[in-house]
Symmetry: C2
Subunit: 225 residues, 2 copies
Amino acid sequence: MSTTGDPKKSLYEQLARLGKAAASPARLELLDLLCQGPRTVEGLANEAGLSVANASQHLRVLHGARLVEGEKNGLFVTYRLADPAVGDFFQTLRALGEKRLAEVDAILREFREAPESLEAIEKETLLNRVKKGEIILIDVRPAEEYRAGHIPFAMSVPLKELRSHFPKLRRRQPIVAYCRGPYCVLAVEAVKQLRAKGFRAARMDDGIAEWRARGLPVAVSEVSK
Amino acid sequence: MSTTGDPKKSLYEQLARLGKAAASPARLELLDLLCQGPRTVEGLANEAGLSVANASQHLRVLHGARLVEGEKNGLFVTYRLADPAVGDFFQTLRALGEKRLAEVDAILREFREAPESLEAIEKETLLNRVKKGEIILIDVRPAEEYRAGHIPFAMSVPLKELRSHFPKLRRRQPIVAYCRGPYCVLAVEAVKQLRAKGFRAARMDDGIAEWRARGLPVAVSEVSK
DNA sequence: AAACTATTCAATAGTATCCTTGAATAGTTT
DNA sequence: AAACTATTCAAGGATACTATTGAATAGTTT
C-alpha cells in the first residue's frame, strides 16, 4: 500500500496526482472551459475539439484527481469544478505561464494585438459606469455560460446573436464586451463586428474567472428546469 | 512548428509544460526543497534520496519549464527558484491538495498527531512575544537554509546541533521551533528531544514559504564568501 | 599535466499515457 | 419492448516518461 511507505514520499506522490492532471493540454482546456461553468461531456468535447470518448476519459482523470465532479441528469452527465479552489489553481498556473514562459506571452500578444487594437478598460471604474448606465456591458459568451455566472449588470448577448441586437443599440453609447478571459476570441470578434457597424466598442480582457479572483461580485441567473 | 498551429491549442500546450513539470513526485520534492533556498545538485539529491544523475535530470526538466535556474560556481551548480511566483504556484498546489485530496489530509494528520501532540501557536502574537524575549524562536533547519532566509529574531539551531544548545537554554522559557513547513519533520523531532529534556517546547507548523506567503517579514543573513 | 570532483549527457529497459476503435451501460423516447 | 442517445468501458498500438548505468565534460587541486 502506498500509505505504509515513507509519509513524506507519499505526500509528494499525492500532490503529483494534481500535477499529472494538469500535464495534458486537453485536460487544461477542459478545465478552462469548466471554469466558465458546468457543461456536459458532449459540450466539452465539441468546444475542445476532442472525440467524446477521449473527453470522457480526460474528465475521468480530472475526477480521479478530485478536480471536477460529474452529476448525471437524465441522459446527460454535467461536469463542474469540484471546488472554487480549482479555479484558483488554474489561475495561478496561467499566471505562472504568463510570467515565466516567453512562449505564452507571445501567444497572448498574438491574441491581443489582433485586428483592431483593443483598449484596456479600467476595471475599478467600469462597474460604476455600467451601474450609471454610461456604459453598456455585454457578455458575448453562450447564454448557458452567462446563466452559470456573469458580471453584475451585464446583459447576455451571445456572439451568434450579436447582429440581432444592432437595432437596439445607440451608436454613441460606449459598449464593453467581455467573454471567457484573456485567451478567448469571442469578445475580440464582437468588438470587430461592432466597430465595423460604427459602434464605440472596446474589449475587457478579463473573464468571469479573473473577475471572481479579484473578489468582485458575480451574478447568477438560475433558471428553474 | 508549434507556434504556427491554432494559437489556442498551443497555449494549453505551453501551460501543460508547467503541469508536466509538476507531475512527478521527485520534482515536487525538489521544488519544495528549493522553496527553502538555493542548493547544489548533490545537496538536493541527498535530501530527496535521489541519485545525482537522476536529480540532475529532473532539474533539467524543471529548468525546461523555466521553474528553476542553475548557476555554475566553480565546481558546483547552484539551483534556485527562477521566480518567487514559482513558490506561490507550489503553495497553491499544496493548498489544493490539502483541500481536495483526502489522502493528503491523512498524511498531514500522521505528521501533526505525531508522538507528542503539538500545540498550534498563534502567529499573530508570536512575533511580538519573541521580540519581547518571552519566547525563544529557533530555526532547526540546516544553517545554510537559515542564511538564505529566516523569520526575524529567530536563532539558527540546526537539528543536528540541538543537543549542544541544551546548556544555554532555561528550562522554564518557552521555545518554539519551526522548520521547512507543515510536511517537514525537523521541528517535530526537535520538539520531541526538547520535551524529553524537560523543556517547554512547541512547534510552529509554518515554514518560511508560508510565512512569506502571509506577507510577514523575512530576514536574510548574507555571508561574504 | 595528472588525478579528482560535480555535473551532465547518452543509451536502455521498464512503465505509464494518449488517442482511437468498437462494444457495453444506463436512461429516454416511440 | 425496440430504437435511440449520451456516456463510459476495454483493448490496442504509438509515444513519452522514469530511473539506472556508464561515459563525457568542465573545473579544481596536487
